[in-house]
Subunit: 388 residues, 4 copies
C-alpha cells in the first residue's frame, strides 16, 4: 500500500521549512561550486589538471581575464595560462593591448581561489612557424619582436617553456609538415612541446612527433568564448587538458614537469601519453571488487569492477586461446561499478588458479593507433558442473 | 585561432575507430552499471544502504522478484528485503501465492551480484494495527494466521525484526494515533521499529515516537512498480532508504544493528537520525581545503569546503555576535567544492586565532524540527587593512 | 529472446559509418543551436521573449558585447537591450568608456542572427532614485549629466522607455520605499515601468506598485557574467525575462507594447502579469485530449491534459461542493501530457452533463498573493455502477 | 549591480508559499507524465508510434502486463502488442501459461489510457523458421500446434499479420539466411514482414530483404525487463519502434497499413524506410526560417533552420560544383534551430537567384547504405563586396 503521506498537524509547513532553502539557493548557489576532475595521482607525483592556452578580450578572446580564473576553478583545474596573442588585437581600437595586463588583472582572483596562474603569450605568425605559446614568462613585452626567432629567444631568456600550437594551421585543410623553421627551433633547444590536442581536435601527427623527437605532449582548450559555449558540462564533457605529473602544485614544479616531459593529454574520451603515466592512472582508478571467482564448468560468474575516476576505460579483449575463461569487452564508465561476465572455456579443468585476462584499453593511447595493454587478474575456482 | 582540426591522412577514419566502440556500447552497457551511494562509514561501523519494504508480482507488486535484485544492485544498495503481503494477492487467480517463493526465486541472482537479500513479509490488517513488516524470517508460512498477534508471535519465534509501516494508513487523511494494539505489541517486545519515511512521505510523528519509545527508525521504498517509474535517477533522486550502521555486510550484522537501533533514514534530501550517527557522517563527508585563512580587516576570504559524499548539507548560520567573522549560510552540494565567504567583523582585532563558525545543518534532522548543530573550524589571521 | 545482433559481413564498420558523424560533430555543433522558448502567442499579439537589462566589459560586465547576442540567440530570445552603466566603469583604465560602443559592436551580429538589439543605458545613482534603465535610445552621450533628472529628460527627449531597476537597492537589507524622487519622475511621465524581477529576485512590492500606479512590469537578467555561469540551462532554467505582447517583432512595436503596459514577467517558474495576458497564454498552452469522460458512479476516469508550452502550470483545486466530480490538484509539466484522475461524488446522478472544474493556477500570479483562476471543462457521462 | 533580492515584509515565507508545492509534487508527479514523440504526420496518414514485440511474466518477461501499458503511455506510443512466447514459459511452475491472459489483464488499463493494445503471440521455434510474431489475433490458443506451419495457418485464419523476428537468431554469431521454410511461408502469403531492427540491433540484411521481396519493415523493442532498465530516456533515447502510416488510430487501420507496407523503422538515430515516407517526414519537420539570403561576394550568411521534430537529421553536402554557394554539412538536432553558414563561391555573379543546396540525410536510410537525398532551397541575393 503506498497511499500513506505526511499528515501530522502541520506537515505541509514542515516540508516547506525543510525543503525550501535548498531550492531557493540552488539557482545561483550551484554555479559557485567547483567540480573536481577525479583522475588519481601516480606514485611520486600529483596529477595536475592544466590548460596552457587561453584568450581574453585583450587579444581575440571574448571575456575579461577574471572570468578565466572562475571558469578554471569551477571546472576543477589546478592551473592555467593566459596566452593572448602578441600580434593580433581585433579589439585594439577600444582596448589598447597591454601585454602583461591580462595576467595582472587575473592574479588576485587566482590567489583567492588558489589556482596556479601562469603568465603566457602566443607568438602568432604565418606558418611556418605558425603559432607558438610561451609560458612561465616574467614579462611579455620583450616578445613583441618582428623577428619570431628573437621573440622566442626573448622567451627563452626568461626560462619560458615554449610549444608549437595546432600544427595544421590554418585549419582543416592544413598539412602536417615538420618545417625547417620548427626543426631549427627544436635543435636550438627553443621548442619544448607540441599541441597533440587543441579544443575539438586531436592530431595524430603531433602525437607521433612528440614520441619521436622527445617533445612534451600538450593538450589545451585555446578557449576564446565563455567556456560554457564550447563544452556541455552537463553531459560530462571537459575542456581539452594537459595532465601534468608534478611534485607540487606550484608554478616551479609544473615547469619542471613540462621540461621533463611528464604530461599526458586528456581530449574527449581519450587519454594520450606514455605508458609510464597511463598505466598507474589505470591501476589506481580501477578495482576488482570480487577477484575471487567461483564458477561452474557450465556456468558464468559476474566480476564487479569499480572505476573510481572520471575517465572512461574502453576495454577490448585480446585473444587468449590458452586461458580457462571466455570473456568479452566492456566499458568501465566513470564512477561506476561495471560487470564482466566470464564463463569457463569448454575443457577447462576444475581447480583453483590465478588467471590474468588481457585487454587493450582502446582509449588510452600510447601511440596514435595503439591502446595500452592491461590485464585484469582473478583467482578462479572452477567447479564441476552442477547435476540437476 | 580555433579552426585547427584533425587532418592527418585519414583523420575521419581515425576518429571513427577511436570513438565508435564507446557509443555503440553505451546504450545497453550503461544500464548494466552500478552507481554507488557515497555516504561514508562511521567509526567502528559500515554504513549500509538498505530497503526493508518491497513487493513483487506475488502480492500486489508488478515485477518478478529477480528484478528487485537488479534494481538494488544498480542503485548501489547493500541489502534489501522482499516483503510481499501475507493476506493481499490481487494476482492470485493467475499466480497462486507461495509465501516463500519471492525470496527463493531471487536468491541466486542476489548471490551472483553480492546483495544481501532478506526474507520478509508484510502482515496486512486494517488499522489498528495496520501493516507490520517482519524481516529475517526463515519461513513465511506460519505468519498466515488470522489473528495478527499470533502472526507477529510466529515472526518473533523466528527471531524476526518487526516494524510498523506507514502509521497514517490508510492514507493522506489518516491520523497518527498510538493505538493500544501497537502499544501492546511494543510492550511485549514484539515491535522493534517504525517507518519514519515510506516512499514519498516522511512522518514527523513516527520520528518522535521512535525517539520517545526507543524504537528503530526505518525508511523504505515500499516499491510496487519498476523502481524507475517512481524515482528519476537521472535527476539525482534516490529511493527512500534505511542506513544501517553494522559491523559487517551480513544479515546477522544487519539484524543486530536494527535491534540496537543503529539506523538513520535517508529520505529525499533529509537525513534523519540520532546525533551519534549524523555527526560522524557529516564530519567524514566534509573537508575544509584551506582552513588557514588570511584576511584583511576590510577584506574577504573564500573558504573552500569539499563535500565528498552524495548527501546535501544545508548550513544555516547560528547567530554569533562575539566571533570575529561575518558569514552567511551555504549549501554543500554533493561531490562539490563550495565557497564560504567570510569577512572580518568591524572592530575585529588583528592577529591569529582559532575560530569556530557555528551552523545548523537544516536537513540533518536529530528531531522533527531540529537540525544538527555543527561548526566549521578555521585558523584566522586578521591583518590591518591595506593602504591604497 | 534478445541476443540477436547486427551480424552482416561487416556490421561493425556499418555501425561506424552510420553513427560516428553525429558524435564527432555533437561536441561543438550542439553549442551552435538555438532553443526556442515555447510560450504561445496571444490573440492579436506575438509573445516576444525579451531582456532589457544586461552588461558588457564596457561597464562592469565581463564579456564582449557580441557574446550577449550569441547568448540571446541560443536561449531563444527575440530581443534584448545592452544597458551598460553610464557612471560606473571599473575597467576604465584599460577600456575607456564609449557610451554607444557596446551597441555598435554588437549590431552586425544581431542583424546576422536576426535578434532585435536595443540601445540602452543604466543611469546609476545612489538611492533615491537608484538605478534607472533607458532603452530605445539613439545616443547615450546626452545621458552623461550629473543631474539625474536631466539625464532622464535627455532619455525622454529621445523617446526612450525608462524603468526603475531593483527598487530594494542596495541589496537584501534594502527597503521598498516609494521615494518622492521616483514619484516625481512618474508624475512627470518620465518613468514607465519597474523591475518586478531582476536575476534571482522577485519583488512583490514592485508587482503591487505596477498594478496600483499603472506602470509596466519588467523582468530582466541584469547579467554581468557569461550567462551560463548564472543559469543552468541543462536543468531547464531560463534567464529572467519580460514577455512583450507586440504586433510585430520590431523595436518600434516592442516600444509601443511597453508603453501600453503589454508585458508579463517570466521568473523561475512564475509567470507574473495581468489576467488579460496570462489567461490566453494558459488557454493556448493547454489542451484536454479526451474531454468526453465516461465514468461509473463508483469508478474513476483519467483525463489527459497536454501542455504544449515550456511553462509549468501548478493547478490547485478550488473547493467545489456542488460539482459531480472529485478531483485533486496537479502540475502540468512543460511539454508533457499529464493525468487528472476524477471520480464521481457520492450521490452524483447518472447522465450526461457539462462540468467545469475550477482551479487556481498557483504560479500564474495576477497579484502578489493571487494565482489565476482557470477551469477545465469536461463533458461527463456518469453511468450506474457496474455489477460484478 | 546584482545584489538586489526579495525583501518585502516576509519574503522568505512568500518564496516558500510560491515554490514549495511544485517541489513536493515533482518527485512522484513527474513519473505520471506522458512524453509525446514528435514525428509529424504525412499527407493523408497519421504517423503512429508502435511496438509489436513485447513480453510479460506470462512467458520470459519480468513485468506484469499492465506495466507494459503504462510504459507505452509514458513513452508516447500509440499502440503496441503483447507477444508472449507460445512455447517458452520459464515461470510456468509459479505462473501457469494462459495464452490470452496477458492481453486480457492489460485491456482495461489500455482503454483507460487510450492506447491501442493488440493481442499477439510469438511462435518460438528453432531456426528455421526461428521466431515469428502474429498480431491482431482473436485467440492465441489455436497457435499452440507442434507443427509451426499449422500454428502460422491458425494465425492466418484469424487474419493475423505475421512477421519474422530477429532473423540472425540465435544471436551475434548467427547468419542471415533466406531459409526455404521462410520462403515457403512467404510464397504462401503467410509471412508479411521482417524485423529490420530489434532492440539494440539493426539488420541491413533484413532491410534489403524487405525491399526486394516487398515485405513490411518492422522495428520493435522485444522488451523483457522494465523498459527503463534498457533505455535511458533522460539521455533522449527511445525504444526501437515501427512508425505506422495509418488512416486512423485504430487496430483495423494499423492492420491495413501493415498489410500495405506503410511503415518505417525508428532505431536509435536512424529512420529506415521508403522514400515515399521519409521524404514527407523530413519536409514536415524542417523549416528554413530565413530563406531569403542576402550575401556579399566576400561575405557569409547564416541560414536558420528549425527542426520541429524529435528526430535528428544528419546532413552531408553533395558536391555541387556549379552552385553559387559554398556550404558544409550540419546536424539538425531535435527541437532546435541550427545554423548553416554559406559563402559565395569565388566568381559567383551578383544578382538574385533561386538556389537549391543538395544534401544526403545520412541517417534517413532508404537503402542499407543509402541516405535520403534532400535539398534546402534558398532565394539568394549576392551583392558586390563592401568597400572598406
Amino acid at each position: 500500500m503506498r497511499q500513506a503521506q505526511c499528515s501530522s498537524s502541520a506537515p505541509w509547513l514542515l516540508a516547506i521549512a525543510l525543503l525550501t532553502p535548498l531550492m531557493v539557493r540552488w539557482g545561483s548557489g550551484q554555479s559557485l561550486d567547483r567540480t573536481e576532475i577525479e583522475i588519481p595521482n601516480i606514485p611520486g607525483h600529483l596529477t595536475l589538471k592544466c590548460d596552457f592556452h587561453s584568450h581574453t578580450v585583450f587579444s581575440d578572446g571574448l571575456v575579461w581575464p577574471t572570468i578565466r580564473v572562475e571558469e578554471a576553478w569551477r571546472e576543477g583545474l589546478d592551473g592555467f595560462a593566459l596566452t593572448d596573442h602578441v600580434e593580433y588585437h581585433p579589439h585594439q581600437e577600444d582596448l589598447p593591448f597591454k601585454p602583461n595586463q591580462p595576467y595582472e588583472l587575473a592574479l588576485e582572483k587566482a590567489r583567492q581561489l588558489n589556482i596556479v596562474l601562469l603568465r603566457g603569450a602566443e607568438i602568432t605568425r604565418d606558418m611556418p612557424p605558425g603559432h607558438l605559446n610561451a609560458i612561465f614568462l616574467e614579462d611579455v613585452n620583450p616578445l613583441q619582436d618582428p623577428d619570431y626567432r628573437k621573440a622566442v629567444q626573448a622567451a627563452a631568456s626568461q626560462n619560458a617553456f615554449v610549444f608549437w600550437n595546432h600544427p595544421d594551421f590554418p585549419g582543416p585543410e592544413g598539412q602536417f609538415v615538420w618545417h625547417p623553421e620548427i626543426e631549427s627551433l627544436r635543435s636550438a633547444g627553443l621548442l619544448h612541446g607540441i599541441e597533440v590536442a587543441n579544443g575539438q581536435s586531436y592530431y595524430p601527427a603531433s602525437h607521433r612527433w612528440c614520441l619521436e623527437k622527445k617533445l612534451t605532449m600538450m593538450g589545451n582548450s585555446d578557449i576564446h568564448n565563455p567556456i560554457g559555449m564550447e563544452y556541455d558540462f552537463s553531459r560530462g564533457e571537459h575542456r581539452t587538458l594537459t595532465l601534468v605529473f608534478a611534485e607540487e602544485r606550484t608554478p616551479l614544479s609544473i615547469r619542471k614537469a613540462l621540461m621533463d616531459r611528464r604530461t599526458a593529454v586528456y581530449w574527449k574520451n581519450l587519454l594520450i601519453g606514455e605508458e609510464q603515466y597511463l598505466r598507474p592512472i589505470f591501476e589506481s582508478s580501477v578495482e576488482i571488487l570480487n577477484p575471487n571467482v567461483a564458477i561452474y564448468e557450465d556456468g558464468e560468474a559476474l566480476v564487479q569492477i569499480r572505476n573510481r575516476s572520471d575517465l572512461l576505460f574502453e576495454l577490448q579483449p585480446i585473444s587468449n586461446a590458452t586461458g580457462p575463461l571466455n570473456y568479452s569487452g566492456l566499458a568501465l564508465h566513470p564512477k561506476k561499478v561495471s560487470l564482466l561476465r566470464v564463463t569457463a572455456q569448454s575443457g577447462a579443468r576444475s581447480g583453483e588458479k590465478n588467471v590474468s585476462l588481457p585487454f587493450t584499453a582502446k582509449n588510452l593511447l600510447v601511440e596514435p593507433d595503439q591502446g595500452l595493454k592491461i590485464s585484469l587478474n582473478l583467482k578462479v575456482n572452477i567447479a564441476q558442473a552442477k547435476k540437476n
